[in-house]
């Protein structure tokens, strides 16, 4: 059984919600990433989404764009990101890791090579923002054969037919984009999210997590009441960005505080 499925099964049994931090691999330095993944787990992360930086992050707001630029300036590539996961697995065999990014680096590496390298390193899921189900047949099949979850997005304007289609090909969880916009936007409408998640749930048996615009513990807690998990990305990366002058342990301390407060809010 895939680590993602195991995690959601266990969470379901204990009535808890998944806390899913997102960080961009290689931001602000190469050395920062693996150690920080362990720290995120200690602070309460159930799944880690590791952003693969891309030169043209079309779905991301300014915060994650800048994180990508910092990471690319450190010469991070897809192989390096996969290697971070391999290093993380040296001491962590439990926490699922999902790579999140854009298709071109995967195309460039080649599907076959990518899937086998990801499998060897212990990657559990892949979310490719600009690969909707229509174009995913080849890659999703290869991922499935390797027992890696091919994870898809759903949006506020996805209708029931669309939810069923995405749910059919998707594995692991469905990532509901809480608003029309880019990552880190600020106009998340909780009532609308709640209504929409009800509609999605009628059409899928996959866990539903919510991301884009989850900034604080209160929002996380509200979303946790209706969804199976929350993704926290831009808020964490903003902390990193505003702490660039500090030492790496101090930056990690900053994000630990934020994540732990979300964990607490989610559990109460």
């Amino acid at each position: 059984m895939n680590r993602i499925d195991q995690t959601f099964t266990q969470l379901g049994e204990s009535g808890r919600k998944a806390l899913i931090p997102f960080i961009t691999a290689g931001d602000p330095t190469l050395a920062f990433t693996v150690e920080t993944m362990h720290v995120l787990v200690e602070a309460g992360a159930d799944v880690i989404e590791l952003g693969v930086p891309f030169s043209d992050p079309m779905a991301d707001g300014p915060v994650i764009q800048r994180a990508s630029e910092r990471a690319l300036a450190n010469k991070v590539n897809l192989r390096q990101v996969i290697d971070f996961v391999r290093q993380f697995r040296n001491t962590n065999q439990q926490t699922p890791v999902v790579l999140m990014g854009y298709l071109n680096p995967i195309e460039c590496m080649g599907y076959e090579q990518f899937v086998s390298a990801a499998k060897d390193a212990g990657v559990d899921g892949v979310l490719t923002v600009d690969m909707p189900p229509e174009e995913a047949e080849d890659l999703s099949k290869r991922l499935q054969d390797a027992d890696i979850a091919c994870i898809f997005l759903l949006a506020p304007n996805s209708n029931s037919e669309r939810v069923r289609k995405v749910s059919e090909i998707g594995r692991g969880y469905l990532y509901y984009v809480s608003l029309k916009g880019v990552t880190g936007a600020s106009h998340l409408d909780l009532e609308e999210v709640e209504r929409k998640i009800g509609q999605i749930r009628e059409n899928t048996s996959l866990p539903i997590v919510v991301g884009f615009g989850v900034k604080d513990p209160e929002t996380a807690a509200s979303i946790g009441r209706v969804a199976d998990g929350v993704v926290v990305g831009s808020a964490l990366i903003s902390r990193i960005e505003s702490s660039l002058e500090l030492t790496e342990p101090e930056i990690r301390q900053q994000i630990t505080v934020l994540l732990a407060s979300m964990r607490e809010a989610l559990d109460n």
């Binding site: 891309f54 030169s55 043209d56 992050p57 079309m58 779905a59 707001g61 764009q65 690319l72 590539n77 897809l78 192989r79 854009y102 298709l103 071109n104 680096p105 995967i106 195309e107 460039c108 590496m109 923002v129 600009d130 690969m131 909707p132 229509e134 174009e135 898809f152 997005l153 759903l154 949006a155 506020p156 304007n157 996805s158 209708n159 669309r162 995405v166 984009v177 029309k180 916009g181 880019v182 936007a185």
Partner: protein, 398 residues
């Protein structure tokens, strides 16, 4: 061979497709339906044709550049005069069509990306005429080198947003336009200016631009009694080229040449020749030839002409290259300037720097052909917008 591409989901062989974030799927479905409905709707087509005739000034003439041909001593050169269109380039053929679709779909706001500013001006123009709110995204670097077009857009009532991200050129403007679209999807129509982007844009923009080739094909038959031997057009995203090429694809006697920007030379790495020096990948909604590094990161491109300064190319060109129906070649900045000056001095026509790439290649080709052969070049735009760039190179500032 029949050329009935793309397939239902927008694939030209392995190229094209719909590679976008989920939020854009519903508006793309809506647009695809509208495109299929209205391209066969007599009322819509009549309105489009009337606008092209009375507002754009179509048909544009085909001009026999006799003096220049004589000077080159080979093939007879004919120019399809898209430079004479309202707003000075072929771009308006497409923006008229898409703005009419926006109106049919009840979208009060249009957005566009622009490189040289020609597509931005063409979009701002139709938006002004139809009373639509218009926002144009433009790379900060392009804003500097195309100041005149920026001012034109503002005069027309558009908001021009400077994009400071990445290389600050056309690709970054496209990223930002996509971010706007995903945020304002309910009231906004995205008018893409070239034959790239997610399906249905490559086929829709092609269909709006194919008026160029349909007219030119008949005009050449009327003027010379036969089809041209060679077609030449410049390629950035490739909309003027596909507009000329498409109606000739099944005429197997007609050789088709697309000219990419070699910038300072392919060997320097400072160029924009995606088809000639790139490899297949996925960017901006479609799979096509791209200029990227070994890790798949898109690299910075260069061309003297902002309109060709783009790391990708329309997926139909990628397919035409692979199947061998069209051939793609390159011309450097310096050679393009040679074409620019030649046409200006010998024919009294100041061409856009984009189109000058096609002219420069024809200058190399014509002398190798016989006097009874013909080359048809798409003169896709006029050079008024490039006065600053060319003058600067000569050390002149206004």
């Amino acid at each position: 061979m029949k050329f009935d591409f793309p397939d239902q989901r927008g694939h030209f062989g392995p190229y094209g497709g719909i590679f976008v974030a989920e939020t854009l799927i519903p508006p793309i479905q809506e647009l695809t339906e509208a495109y299929h409905r209205y391209m066969t709707d007599p009322g819509f087509m009549a309105e489009l044709d009337a606008d092209l005739q009375h507002y754009v000034g179509r048909p544009s003439p085909v001009y026999h550049a006799e003096r220049w041909s004589r000077e080159l001593g080979g093939a007879q050169i004919f120019l399809k005069r898209e430079d004479l269109n309202h707003t000075g380039a072929h771009k308006i053929n497409n923006t008229i069509g898409q703005a009419l679709l926006a109106k049919r779909l009840g979208k009060p706001r249009v957005i566009a990306e622009t490189g040289a500013g020609q597509h931005g001006v063409a979009t701002a123009t139709v938006a002004a005429r139809m009373g639509l709110e218009c926002v144009v995204y433009m790379g900060a670097k392009d804003i500097q080198r195309q100041a005149l077009n920026v001012y034109r857009m503002k005069l027309l009532g558009a908001t021009v947003v400077a994009v400071e991200a990445g290389s600050m050129t056309l690709k970054d403007a496209l990223n930002e336009a996509l971010r706007d679209w995903v945020t304002n999807v309910d009231n906004t129509f995205y008018i893409i200016g070239t034959v790239a982007g997610p399906h249905p844009y490559p086929v829709m923009v092609r269909d709006f631009q194919a008026v160029i080739g349909r007219e030119a094909r008949q005009q050449m038959l009327d003027m010379t009694g036969q089809l041209p031997d060679v077609l030449v057009a410049c390629i950035g995203g490739g909309s003027n080229a596909i507009g000329l090429f498409h109606p000739f694809l099944e005429d197997s006697s007609v050789k088709i040449l697309g000219v990419e920007a070699a910038g300072e030379g392919i060997e320097t790495g400072r160029h924009s020749a995606a088809l000639c020096a790139g490899k297949p990948g996925v960017l901006h909604g479609n799979r096509t030839y791209l200029l990227s590094d070994d890790d798949g990161e898109i690299i910075e491109t260069h061309s003297i002409s902002a309109g060709l300064d783009y790391p990708g190319v329309g997926p139909e060109h990628a397919w035409l290259k692979d199947i061998g129906r069209a051939e793609y070649v390159t011309v450097t900045d310096e050679e393009a300037l040679g074409g620019f000056h030649a046409l200006t001095r010998l024919e009294g026509i100041i061409p856009a720097l984009e189109s000058s790439h096609a002219l420069a290649y024809a200058m190399k080709l014509a002398p190798k052909m016989s006097r009874d052969q013909t080359i048809l070049i798409n003169l896709s735009g006029r050079g008024d917008k490039d006065m600053h760039t060319v003058a600067n190179l000569e050390g002149i500032s206004f």
